[in-house]
Symmetry: C2
Amino acid sequence: MNISERNNEYKLLIEAELYNAIASCEAPDPLMSAMKYSISAGGKRLRPCLALGVCDMLGGEREMALALGCGIEMIHTYSLIHDDLPCMDDDDMRRGRPSNHKVFGEGQAVLAGDGLLTFAFELMLKKGLEFNSLAYFKAVHEIAKRAGVSGMVAGQSRDLEAENGSLVDENELRYIHVHKTADMLAAAVLAGAYSADADEASINALEKYSEKMGLLFQITDDILDYEGDQALVGKTLGKDEENSKLTYITLYGIEKARQIAAQTAEDAERIVLDAFGTSAEYLIKTVQEMVSRKY
Amino acid sequence: MNISERNNEYKLLIEAELYNAIASCEAPDPLMSAMKYSISAGGKRLRPCLALGVCDMLGGEREMALALGCGIEMIHTYSLIHDDLPCMDDDDMRRGRPSNHKVFGEGQAVLAGDGLLTFAFELMLKKGLEFNSLAYFKAVHEIAKRAGVSGMVAGQSRDLEAENGSLVDENELRYIHVHKTADMLAAAVLAGAYSADADEASINALEKYSEKMGLLFQITDDILDYEGDQALVGKTLGKDEENSKLTYITLYGIEKARQIAAQTAEDAERIVLDAFGTSAEYLIKTVQEMVSRKY
């Protein structure tokens, strides 16, 4: 299997579904423009791709995985808009363009985020009334849980506390990333599983895979940030010169962090290979892509 | 029927359900405290009371109306938290206490709102998996729609534009209030109807009732604001001296606004009396309470 081709196929399906969703949306301007601006900003569409990949692996209903995956993509997008706000991470740029609030103002950016989050549930539920499948509604519940106050929002809240100077140790760092990153990857992977009405053992294996993927995502993110800083500064910063934010690099140093990334990738591959054999090829290649990612 | 007693009975059920929901919530601090702070701030619980009132009128499943009503109350509460933010209405006080962001900071207030919105769906969906009723899931979809980008969030976005100085005419004022206020009242009333698996005719009548209630809510709000201002200033302000915000008072003057309120109340009563006869007593008394409200 050529993973690029597979991802391109998935991306076409996902972009079309997102486009149709937005076309059916009756939001007035500027809300509509603000939502469109961020949802059409592109990106790898990693989460809905994972939903489709798991669904295909298990022979599930693609329509379901697609609807759930696009809901997850909207939720992911809302979280980026709110994350970029001045009162949160205060980022002026996102994916090479001015962030949402720089274009539409803070108030409309808050509402664009609220709108995308609510629209995700509106769409997923609308499809659910057509499918009328309990497994599908289980997936929508799982997504709400992983996106919410014991999932992604919990991770963001703790992360914000950490940035505002409350002490962070390794356990806390792990808590933040499990919830801020891994939970939404798990939501996507499990959405694919529920679309195939998967059994308990498959769901357990996929949950473990998601946890490893979340950790891997974060470590490779920290490594990329570190390498970017190195390239900019042109010299190796001593630990004392770095800012105080705790990352896997400040915690372990760059060499150890690379080792942990490699080990985590191996663990993730092993989990799905043991559970699903060679049919897990897409999930395994997605791990390898993440290890070698350049952005 | 004594409406105060009925409302007290409903409020006890609602507060218990909300309390149980929060007790089951695994949010970490400060997210948890910020959510609790606003959800426990009290208020009339008008929306879940309406859900229960309609459900009882139609002989529906109280458990369903209660779950949906509490979801709606959480969504209403999140909207108040975000509305009070400096980048929105910039209100320091809410229900006689400092607003959420004054206590927890803007970032955590944004997250408390996001958390309550997501938790509402998490809880409503969790109950849905127990009830396993299509009518119930229809109600959850209706709530998402009314709360979302063609409903409440749309109204908020247009309202924010209006406050930032874009021209507002009567149609626009009506658009804002239909979506910002009436839609969530409709969500509550229809949640009660779906809990009783109501027929199309009942649902149509209840939608019209909600529209009138939304308008009534807004006009009485404007009248109360006007009377409050009069009491403060101790004299009648000329129209030129008032600020430029368009309200039903600036649009029609106080006498005409009072007439519209009375007529709207009569319309609302007539709609449910025609559709449901004397069993609509609770809905009728809720109209009368709103006309004579002092806050």
